[in-house]
Symmetry: C2
Subunit: 348 residues, 2 copies
Amino acid sequence: MTQPFNSRFLSACYRLPTDATPVWFMRQAGRYMAEYRAIREKYGLLEIVRQPELAAEVTLQPVRAFGVDAAILFADILLPLQPMGLDFEFARGEGPVIHNPIRTLADVYALRPLEPEETLAPVMQAIRLLRAELGPTPLIGFSGAPFTVASYMIEGGASRDYKTTKLMMYAAPETWQALMDRLSTALAEYVTAQVRAGAQAIQLFDSWVGALSPMDYETFVLPYSKKVLEAAQSTGVPVIHFGTGTATLLPLMRQAGGDVIGLDWRVPLDNGWQAIGHDRAVQGNLDPVALLAPIPELKKRIHDVLRRAEGRPGHIFNVGHGILQHTPEKNVRVAVEIVHEWKTENGE
Amino acid sequence: MTQPFNSRFLSACYRLPTDATPVWFMRQAGRYMAEYRAIREKYGLLEIVRQPELAAEVTLQPVRAFGVDAAILFADILLPLQPMGLDFEFARGEGPVIHNPIRTLADVYALRPLEPEETLAPVMQAIRLLRAELGPTPLIGFSGAPFTVASYMIEGGASRDYKTTKLMMYAAPETWQALMDRLSTALAEYVTAQVRAGAQAIQLFDSWVGALSPMDYETFVLPYSKKVLEAAQSTGVPVIHFGTGTATLLPLMRQAGGDVIGLDWRVPLDNGWQAIGHDRAVQGNLDPVALLAPIPELKKRIHDVLRRAEGRPGHIFNVGHGILQHTPEKNVRVAVEIVHEWKTENGE
């Protein structure tokens, strides 16, 4: 059978047949792995991403351990904040904190251009190191999408209701537009720089976009996500467009762009694929909690996802959001095996 | 024109014509009101709900101030926890904390029956006081739905991923079933006791059910919600079934029951109504952040919701989730006026 690029993952991005369904996991490098925790005992998160050798090592851990079909660069969607002028840190036990959040047009004008090749040079260096190490396993670069990154910049951290972010849209749309304009330019430069450094695919994480109505998404988000997605696609690599809680946003996310649309578990994969259109690939959508379930239950749930994708190429198996902290490593290994052993109808 | 029950709200619950669209707001009594804050300076939340005069006073505040078309009892969905045997408190700045969460079948068997007329007597007394005070404005009683209440019982507080709750479903389904069985019995008794005390409608809050896939909802939640909803409907009052993030759950929520299905802003109201079926009424679905926007923007957004409901009776205007803390009282007053001034096509 034909499997271009010598990669299940890249083939599936382009809806080409594969010998088995490709699988990788969001946050596949992380605290649930003993190897990772050993490194985190010595280094903080930002220390790891600023040292290319460490970032590369952490990226490789799940590839070596579980035989996933793609590596994803170990980094954080908030890395562009500091070079753009925001005073940002990971506060112990509190998640990200931005001490000077964006609230006014003057704050937006004070943002610096990203210039990722200089200000995020360790990220680019980690990509180059990884390409030398990874062999045939493709490397996914990534960025936060403009809405999700903007929400941290405006709220000053994580949020439950995105009140300050939405109020900027509703009460100061010119401030919102100026911010999204600069941010989407910066993120477009960031993803293209990652591809130049060697990333073989790009995922855009719009993790929190499900907080919006379709009307607000269309007006306030779609044009800016589109700019980043088009920039990424213009490099020639496949692009994955991911969000959670997006059941009502899928047709608009498709319109914004991406060769592959990521789905969470709230939408059955077959229904989601239909809403997006079968001329795009899909990625997902196991509930990450299922990876903590007993193996027979996990297997049943993986098979349910695979069954809903059957009959056409273009499905990349993944969780619907990142792997959770106390996931047993064994379950991740077994999940990869279950996916690879599934007999696809479209694989021969 | 005909407007049975002398109430826009009750008429709309039964999809009967009204002279104007009825409007009330989830969490319409609360911290955004100066009158409420004055009371909260002297009393804790649980002190208010345990003193019927105070609970009644707080319930009446938004009815007097804004002319909403329904009152909703001031209470908390977690009130049944303590009488059932859970050591529960509102920790300062942390939200609800349960010190002995449910984790095992033995924990479930140790739960006490609710006996709401005795253990929650102040709630029943507040309802009786309110009926004497409210005149023609109907009083809505309420309860948390089994899933949402169970999630607090199991997680021990608020949760981002509902990991422990879902793992009980996936790894110990007999424990989950035993808990949901007892809990749905307790909540069914609680809502029927509220109606006996005088509540003229019941809302079931399944606020966090949007964390589930439709498949998990159908297996692990629907039968138990149905039991509570049927008990409420058997009393003869209209029943509202509410959740957030429910775009993919709406047909199943309809199946579980309710005369009225509540929608959040993530689904355009017309699309949501279609998914539910036009033989049910709908409630919603303004993004609560819009209530903090400048009046012209607020008006535009209210009109958009009203326009999507046009052409048939059976729409109750509301926010898609509770009113936020810093909402200007003036905006709430103006929102009620905007809704009432809208010329419905179905009202004459």
